[in-house]
Amino acid sequence: MQALLLMLVPLLPLIGFLYLGISRTRIGYTTASIVACGTVLIAFIISLFLFFTINFQDNTPLIISYFPFIHIGNINIDFSLQYDALSAVFLLIITGVGFLIHVYSTVYMHEEPTPQFAKYFSFLNLFVFSMLLLILGANFLILFIGWEGVGLCSYLLIGFWYAKTAYNEAANKAFIMNRVGDLSFLLAIFWLLLKLGTISFVAISPTMLSSTDVLGITLLLLLGATGKSAQIPLLSWLPDAMAGPTPVSALIHAATMVTAGVYMITRNHVLFSAAPFTMNLIACIGLLTAIYAAVLALVQNDIKKVLAYSTISQLGYMFLGLGVYSYTGAVFHVITHAFFKALLFLGAGSIILSLHHEQNIQNMGGLKKKLPITHICFLLACLAISGIPPFSGFFSKDEILNATYSFNPYYWVVGVIGAGLTAFYMFRLYMLVFSGSYRGNQEGIKEKGWVICLPLVLLAVLSTFGGWLNTPSILMGNERLAGFLYSVLGKKDSTVIDALHPINQEYMLMAISTIVAISSMILAMFIYSKPGQAIAKRDTWQKIVENKWGMKNFYQRTVQIPMTLLSFLLAQIIEKKFLEGMVRSVINASSFLSRKIRMMQNGQVNRYIIYMVLGIVLFLLFWFLDIRIYNSFV
């Protein structure tokens, strides 16, 4: 029963994908919407049912092997799914938030002609299927299938409006940058397979590997994770990925796919915990990315770009959490982030839709009155992401920062500065969009109906109260999530931290980060209360930052120019002179041999018999000479 239900969860979106993909030219808007949303909704209901009926407290996860997948030689990989506390959490996020975004999309994409509309939903369903496979896979192979599947869907959906060249380029960029990470991920899988002979998660244990192996594998896995989760060095694809439809950005590039890296590292926390160097590196990468992206978010004028950089920055916090061994904190932040970032994107989508695809925040302002529901929801999300208590973001970020402090206080300082920046750019965005007076030139701006607003409201509720999932004990909470994940993540990391530093200190840390967040929020509100002036100022600052801290030049210098030189060398000299000659000679040799061999086939039976007899004689001679020689030696 459980096996069947668990299988149904990813299977339903797959069926939806197949149905929509095959009959996309024949079905209407209603059918497509019902099939797409319905499959995800049923998957969500099943996930809920599983969540409430399965006991997670025993330490053996539910692993169901459906059929032998690859059984060759001594490699035995089954198609098996794993359901435990960690996958349960992700399952609920993906199907739940995914369902809301599906519903939202039915209105958002309504301007498309029917086949396009159905195609969009088929891709979206395929994405949900791949993502579920990624989460449920009990071994690296299944995870990797999902991993590649979500990459493919991301590519397809970024380039959904493929008539525009820029969008295609963005899609290509995302796909190619991810490929770099995927290659390294694949190498790590092969390495594991070579050393352990198995790649199922429960069987992987660092005690069976040498420390070099652990280090190498975790570093390769980390590079793979940075690709999918848009961390330094593979981050520049995510801002460009905003070319896709806004619900796609909400689902794929904010709530689910980009957290796959975090999930993967959490899933293999046993392995990663055995490699302190890698953990430190993860923390550094997370911190650097968080700061770097937050600063870039300060000056973006495209509403979706701001959110994209903010996503990268928040993912940085999740990595920081992982790096300081606060796996629960990272997962907690994934959950709250899924709520408020999906909400921010859907809110942005509502604004964009109302303004007829205007995305520049310089041309917005004063939308408070015109889009009241969107405004309230967006404000709640801004408060949540900025880490203002008692909204959800506060709790998750605080948990990560707390753990960071006990890991390394310097990291904590940087992290708090990043949190301040977050509050600043979010309220810059908020002020520019909602307060003041309208600077654009469009008439009759209003919200597009309850289908748009309902997901916003639901997500707003979740963003507000999501923090209760894991309220720390010092705030009279009972740390439900940590207790829930205990069976997967082993130690309750926050209790360890409690032992490390006194409660007063924890209060103090909490107070400091709250004060920083609130003061930068107020600062932003003050500066941008008169947006006209604020925008005109600060040209030089903006220039430096818009140049992405010279990152563009950096990429150009370190990657692009040497690559161009190398490709020139390869193309003009090695390819032209050497390889082409070689290929040509292979072709010539093949056709020469081909002609010669055909000559033997001249249609005369007596010739054939002579050749055959010759063959037999040669074989016999060889046989007996060989045996003679062999015998003389033995």
């Binding site: 059929f67 997948f69 081909s594 061999i597 086939q601």
Partner: protein, 470 residues
């Protein structure tokens, strides 16, 4: 045992029906299908232990039935079923006066095939080979008014007679050395005994001839080219894989000590020269049918890797390879049936005019190339990994050489795909001379199933191999 008896009974009845059904008759194919279904049912039942007509004394003396035998027989019967379903209209067209004979001959060939999958004795081996090949000589010449068909028949007969001589010679020598026709006593055969050695090698060569690998492949292109399409499809699939299985049984019955170490070197040489000749010749063929003849030589080279590896993995591999290769080849020949002429340029723009046909053909060709997600990939993968794990210093070079030739084979397979999808057909009047018939509904649905099966095996190859062990 049931399969042998039912197939031969069916053949005899069909032969007699020629008295009553002189004209093309639908009833013939219905009856043939009925026999095929009986074959499946009884063979499966026998595999489960339900015996009918089963003289116990025959078991060890002439035949030996194992799980693999029943499984492979089922594969053969299913392939035969698909073959009949795809070609039944063409079987009636070749020679309308003798359509019942054609069916009868096909069933005789099947009888021979079943003998060859289960023989345990040199006499039953010989009987199987002859019962299988003599009807084939006739079938090759069935298109009586066509000179090429007659020529093919004659050539096949002459060269086949020659190889039969070698086979008989080998059997005689082995009998002389051991005093028995049974296969098992060879285990005690003294390796140095000249008679036995030569006899074994002669049988080996004669069977290699029937498979059609270098240097005994010369009959293949001429015969395949001249024989009517429908029978070429039959010879290139069912007959070919059966002989390879017979060969594998023969080698497996001998002890490693008895085959000696030169055996592997000879097989190595045969494989490499087969791959070289098959692939290089296929490269420059203007005609797709002749290209398929050479490609079948090259594919046989791959199947011979099982003879090199001789391990469990190779047994699984040959099973998958036989299925995938037969399905792909049957698909291609079913589509070739629709062409009056089949040069590469006749396929130009097929994707536009017959998209479904082009799609089926593409999957089959990709499968023969060994592209992942088609069964052909895993077939090749199994064979190569079996070779690799069999050990020996030549294993790795052999795998690399095979991979290179698989790469070369992509050239001529992809040439067809390229013509179908990326070349526009000529707009001139000679377009009218190229006639391509559309696929009938039955053929469409059968081909769809076949293509799905090919793709399915490309994703879950172990579904088939696990049958071996249950």
């Amino acid at each position: 045992m049931n399969a042998i008896i039912i197939a031969s009974l069916g053949a005899i009845i069909l032969m007699l029906t020629n008295l009553f059904f002189r004209k093309r008759s639908k009833l013939l194919s219905v009856f043939a299908l009925l026999v095929v279904i009986l074959l499946i049912v009884f063979n499966t039942l026998e595999g489960q232990g339900l015996l009918f007509f089963y003289p116990a004394s025959l078991n060890s003396a002439f035949f030996q039935f194992s799980n693999f035998t029943y499984l492979f027989n089922n594969v053969l019967i299913l392939t035969f079923l698909i073959y009949i379903l795809l070609n039944k209209n063409y079987l009636l067209l070749i020679n309308p006066d003798h359509s019942a004979d054609i069916y009868a001959l096909l069933f005789f060939v099947m009888t021979g095939c079943f003998l060859l999958t289960s023989y345990n004795n040199l006499l039953s081996l010989f009987l199987g080979i002859e019962i299988m090949t003599i009807p084939l000589y006739v079938l090759a010449g069935m298109d009586k008014k066509n000179q090429k068909s007659n020529e093919a028949s004659l050539k096949y007969f002459l060269l086949g007679a020659f190889s039969t001589c070698i086979l008989l010679m080998g059997i005689t020598l082995l009998y002389g050395a051991t005093g028995s026709f049974a296969l098992n006593p060879f285990n005690t055969l003294n390796t140095t005994k000249l008679l036995g050695q030569v006899g074994m090698l002669f049988i080996f060569f004669a069977l290699l001839f029937k498979v059609g690998v270098a240097p005994f492949h010369f009959w293949v292109p001429d015969v395949y080219d001249g024989t009517p399409n429908v029978f070429t499809a039959f010879m290139a699939t069912i007959v070919k894989v059966v002989v390879i299985i017979a060969l594998l049984n023969f080698i497996n019955a001998l002890t490693p000590n008895c085959i000696g170490k030169s055996y592997k070197t000879i097989v190595l040489f045969v494989i490499i020269s087969t791959l070289a000749i098959g692939n290089f010749s296929a490269l420059s063929q203007p005609n797709v049918k002749r290209m398929m003849a050479y490609s079948s030589i090259a594919q046989a080279g791959f199947m011979l890797l099982a003879l090199y590896a001789l391990n469990d993995l190779a047994t699984q591999g040959i099973l998958i390879y036989a299925i995938v290769y037969s399905l792909s080849t049957l698909t291609i020949f079913a589509i070739l049936n629709k062409f009056s002429l089949a040069t590469f340029s006749d396929f130009n723009g097929l994707a536009k005019s017959q998209p479904l046909m082009a799609c089926f053909l593409t999957v089959a060709l990709l499968s023969l190339t060994g592209i992942p997600l088609t069964g052909g990939f895993f077939a090749k993968y199994y064979m190569l990994s079996a070779t690799f794990f069999s050990g020996g210093k030549y294993a790795l070079p052999l795998v690399i050489i095979c991979l290179i030739f698989a790469g070369i084979s992509a050239v001529y397979y992809l040439k067809v795909i390229q013509a179908m999808y990326f070349t526009t057909p000529p707009v001139t009047s000679d377009h009218a001379s190229i006639t391509i018939q559309p696929l009938a509904t039955l053929e469409k649905s059968i081909l769809l199933l076949v293509v799905i099966a090919i793709l399915f095996l490309g994703i879950f190859p172990s579904i088939v191999t696990q049958w071996l062990y249950f």
